[in-house]
């Protein structure tokens, strides 16, 4: 008994020795490696600051910020698709801030009222297992995916939980609204995609895993991640840009409204979106900068050699209807495409 008590008390004691540095709390989906790198770099410049990052999916980050609205715990929200930021802006979760480079970004990649700014461009691609398929054999455009020969060979992230898939699906419906004046054609298309889809995975790891382990041959995902997995982890992944044009998603950054260290957050904001940082992120962490003033020769070849056509997309229409569309997909289409 006494032994246990001693251990217990010593643990309590250990937990009390907190430092007197100012904490800066960052919610981010960018991953441990990249977050650690920028924590170290920022703390070198600001030795009195303790950067505390919480690595979590963008949806989880959004969830937490919403639940903590009355008593915000985070200072920064670094990383989420622009549509999520548009929603967060409407729900008054963000604080406005104009970065020094505000003029060097396309207007559709930032908030009109400075609540968030784009950091990275992430074009979506049709990815495939290169051990099983060549680029020629793999689907080359959106409609190729509906070919019955891919039945049971497509694996997708569960779209409700994935910002990437939400955007792809919503873009397809938005296209249908734009071209036909109704969302019906878009849902019809998604129904046929569902018929070919083998499974929806709950997290990206499952998707990579099942694609790499040949449970499926094709998926839809963002290009930088696919390149990263292929080049760094040597997984057998290849990709095709859809010929008719792809969805290019903007990943952003924002300060949390009512946060405890707003000044510090602004400094961190500028620090991780500086030219040097953007170049480092491109080279080491496979991110495509959204700023249009980064010298092209300082970027890696996989970015500069990339050419794709963008699908023109009404982001506000998507931000407005995304939840409703996804709910409809979830209750009326998921798993029912082959019926």
């Amino acid at each position: 008994m006494k032994f246990t008590l001693c251990i217990f008390l010593s643990f309590i004691f250990l937990s009390c020795n907190s430092s007197n540095k100012t904490p800066l709390v960052v919610y981010s989906p960018h991953g441990k490696d990249m977050l650690e790198e920028f924590e170290k770099r920022f703390e070198k410049v600001h030795p009195d600051v303790d950067v505390q990052w919480l690595d979590m999916g963008s949806q989880d980050a959004y969830d937490r910020i919403r639940t903590e609205k009355e008593n915000p715990q985070a200072d920064m929200w670094w990383g989420a698709p622009s549509t999520m930021f548009i929603r967060a802006e409407k729900e008054s979760l963000l604080a406005a801030y104009t970065p020094a480079w505000a003029d060097h970004i396309a207007p559709e990649n930032r908030s009109a009222h400075n609540f968030w700014y784009g950091t990275f461009a992430t074009p979506e691609v049709i990815a495939f297992n290169s051990h099983l398929l060549t680029s020629e054999e793999a689907p080359k455009d959106w409609n190729d995916l509906l070919d019955p020969k891919w039945k049971g060979k497509i694996i997708l992230r569960y779209p409700l939980a994935s910002g990437t898939l939400r955007i792809i699906f919503s873009s397809i419906i938005a296209q249908s609204v734009k071209n036909y004046g109704t969302d019906e054609n878009g849902f019809q298309w998604l129904r046929r995609l569902d018929a070919n889809t083998k499974a929806y995975t709950p997290d990206p790891t499952q998707m990579y895993l099942r694609l790499a382990r040949e449970e499926a041959e094709v998926t839809l995902w963002d290009m930088p991640d696919i390149v990263f997995q292929a080049e760094v982890n040597h997984y057998p992944f290849g990709y095709n840009f859809p010929k008719s044009g792809t969805v290019s998603l903007t990943d952003g950054i924002a300060i949390v409204r009512g946060c405890k260290h707003e000044k510090l957050a602004e400094e961190f904001y500028e620090f991780v979106t500086s030219k040097e940082s953007m170049i480092l992120q491109a080279r080491k962490f496979y991110r495509i900068p959204a700023r249009n003033d980064i010298p092209r020769d300082s970027l890696p070849k996989w970015i500069t050699s990339t050419h794709f056509t963008s699908m023109p997309i009404d982001w506000n229409l998507i931000a407005q209807h995304e939840s409703e569309w996804m709910e409809k997909w979830d209750s009326e289409i998921k798993g029912k495409g082959s019926q």
């Binding site: 008994m1 032994f3 246990t4 251990i7 217990f8 643990f11 309590i12 250990l14 937990s15 907190s18 904490p23 709390v25 989906p29 991953g31 441990k32 490696d33 505390q52 990052w53 919480l54 690595d55 999916g57 949806q59 989880d60 969830d63 937490r64 919403r66 639940t67 903590e68 009355e70 008593n71 715990q73 929603r87 051990h131 409700l160 939980a161 499974a199 929806y200 709950p202 997290d203 990206p204 790891t205 499952q206 895993l209 099942r210 790499a212 382990r213 040949e214 449970e215 997995q229 982890n233 040597h234 997984y235 057998p236 939840s323 996804m326 709910e327 979830d330 209750s331 998921k334 798993g335």
Partner: protein
């Protein structure tokens, strides 16, 4: 004798007050916040009270999801019952070589944190799992034909994780039966009843209350289970997944309404079984001792039963082996092969070269300690009050102690956030969200039912006349508790506390909503690795977690033995 329950004294009254404050503040209040949220479809800041969320979910997917959830839970109960009762019976009735080791292996699923279990299951019985591919290669059939997907995948994971409850409940009941009531088996046999008849007419009915208890736990845990349906469920709807989906869509009121209805189903089942159980109870510790008595079996039956049991137990330890193998696999090297072929210690080297590696470990150990301490205090007090005293609201308190088991961890976490992101009486007017305390608190609330059940049933088997004897010898309340009740209860408390500790160590469902940088637990670190697709790194962390769990098991059995020897 008729009625040995005590009225409250000043001291027990104070205990009751503490327990009541805890259950009101940390169980009832979060539940209430949740219910409140479900009636405010326009957000918690609005004051527009409406049943719209309920109307919406009842009209759309609720019944489909509820039917699936209840169905899968019933299947899990049946599967767990078959496995658990079979093992308990074989281990109780037969002797065989290495029995001591095998009887430990049976308990492996308890020591495997759910997160780790689910990951290893994926690599074992998923479509490209080692087991699936191995069998496919042996039989020459495509692995997709017998991959455990959908319903059967979920049931497999549930049975694996929950059969232990049946095993433990049945084993202890069988021991009680043969030690205190052994003569009934002999009586039945001497009256000419066959083995089968004896088992069916005598043993099974006497064990029914234990089965009911285990069924309840398994049912509630399956209803609240998230990871298994999430990973194996495919496109089938389940209540826990509907909560998650509604939340993802930003529809908090619908999520809360789903959670409220899910809790109602669980609590309904709890009440149903309570009512049933209150009518039947046969096993009582009787006076005197008789010899241990078992049902005789033929040599062939023994051989087959033992062989089947040992093979299955062997299979049950595969997930642990799978995780250990994975932790040595070179990142990205295992794709189309049946078994990985490139091994490396790199994952561990990388793990230990990280200067922060021990932060999540100490965090988890610390928080699990605090949670266990809270649970032991509240759980022991409550079971003492409920089993030995009579007071108004006793049934309600007992119910509250069981409720958290039927509520998904996410829901508990959200309830705690809603209740404690502003100053509250129950948080000493401070804000708990973002602090250290909210995590152990969530762990404590989630695990309270485990300790409460094990302690309460332990206390029920302590003869109240022992406490009365101490009283007539001049001993007073606290001293009797310390010197007589506590030592006799000690082993049930330690085993309950161990379970709580293990569960808290690997908890992630509520942690993911509650942790902050300074309190990030091991499970979050594992998830972080997985998010980056560092499966090897994640497996290395899982291995570390299992080592911690084993250390906890070792220490607890040492504590148990040391106290016994004292």
């Amino acid at each position: 004798m008729s009625n040995n329950l005590k009225r409250l004294t000043f001291a027990t009254g104070a205990l009751l007050l503490a327990v009541a404050l805890f259950s009101v503040g940390y169980i009832l209040l979060p539940l209430f916040s949740l219910i409140k949220q479900s009636f405010l479809p326009d957000g918690i800041s609005s004051s527009l009270f409406s049943v719209r969320a309920y109307a919406e979910i009842l009209r759309s997917t609720f019944f489909e999801a509820a039917l699936n959830s209840i169905g899968i839970s019933l299947c899990s109960v049946i599967g767990s019952a078959i496995a658990g009762i079979f093992f308990a019976y074989v281990f109780h009735n037969f002797d065989f070589p290495l029995k001591a080791i095998f009887s430990k292996l049976v308990l492996v699923p308890l020591a495997l944190p759910p997160l780790v279990g689910v990951i290893s299951f994926m690599f074992l019985i998923g479509e490209s799992g080692m087991l699936t591919r191995g069998i496919a290669a042996l039989l020459g059939i495509a692995p997709s034909h017998f991959a455990l997907q959908g319903w059967w995948g979920i049931v497999a994971v549930h049975v694996y994780s929950f059969y232990v409850y049946f095993y433990l409940f049945t084993s202890s009941a069988l021991n009680q039966l043969s030690e205190s009531h052994g003569s009934v088996i002999d009586a039945s046999l001497s009256l000419g009843a066959s083995r089968a008849v004896t088992i069916r007419r005598i043993i099974l009915p006497m064990l029914t209350p234990s089965f009911v208890g285990a069924s309840l736990i398994t049912f509630m845990a399956s209803m609240a289970s998230f990871s298994a349906p999430f990973l194996f469920g495919g496109t089938t709807r389940f209540l826990t997944l509907e909560i998650y989906t509604a939340k993802l869509n930003g529809n908090d009121a619908n999520a809360a309404a789903f959670a409220v209805l899910l809790s109602m189903v669980s609590v309904g089942f709890l009440l149903l079984l309570r009512w049933y159980q209150s009518r039947k109870s046969y096993l009582r510790v009787t006076k005197g001792s008789s010899r241990r008595s078992t049902v005789p079996h033929s040599a062939a039956a023994r051989f087959i039963a033992v062989a089947v049991a040992l093979i299955v137990v062997g299979l049950f330890s595969l997930p642990v082996i799978a995780i250990i193998i994975l932790s040595f696999v070179k990142e990205g090297s295992w794709t189309y092969q049946i078994l990985p072929d490139t091994f490396t210690a790199q994952n561990f080297i990388k793990l230990f070269s990280d200067t922060h590696v021990f932060e999540p470990v100490t965090n988890s150990v610390e928080m699990a300690f605090v949670a266990t301490a809270i649970v032991v205090f509240i759980g022991v007090c409550t079971s003492f009050l409920v089993v030995r005293n009579k007071f108004i609201g006793k049934r309600l308190l007992e119910l509250l102690m069981n409720v958290p088991f039927g509520i998904p961890g996410t829901v508990i976490a959200v309830g705690l956030i809603l209740s404690f992101n502003h100053p509250s009486f129950f948080s000493a007017q401070s804000i708990l969200v973002g602090t250290f305390w909210i995590l152990p608190l969530a762990y404590a609330v989630r695990n309270l039912p485990i300790l409460f059940r094990s302690t309460a049933s332990g206390l029920e088997s302590v003869d109240p006349s022992l406490e009365e004897a101490a009283m007539t010898l001049g001993s007073t309340g606290w001293r009797i508790f310390k010197k007589i009740t506590l030592p006799l209860l000690f082993s049930s408390i330690v085993s309950g506390a161990l379970l709580v500790f293990i569960n808290s160590l690997g908890e992630f469902v509520s942690s993911i909503l509650l942790y902050s940088y300074n309190t990030r637990p091991i499970s979050i670190e594992i998830l972080s690795q997985l998010r980056l697709y560092n499966v090897g790194g994640a497996a290395a962390y899982c291995t570390l977690l299992m080592v911690l769990v084993m250390a906890a098991v070792g220490i607890s059995s040492k504590i148990s033995r040391a106290t016994l020897a004292e």
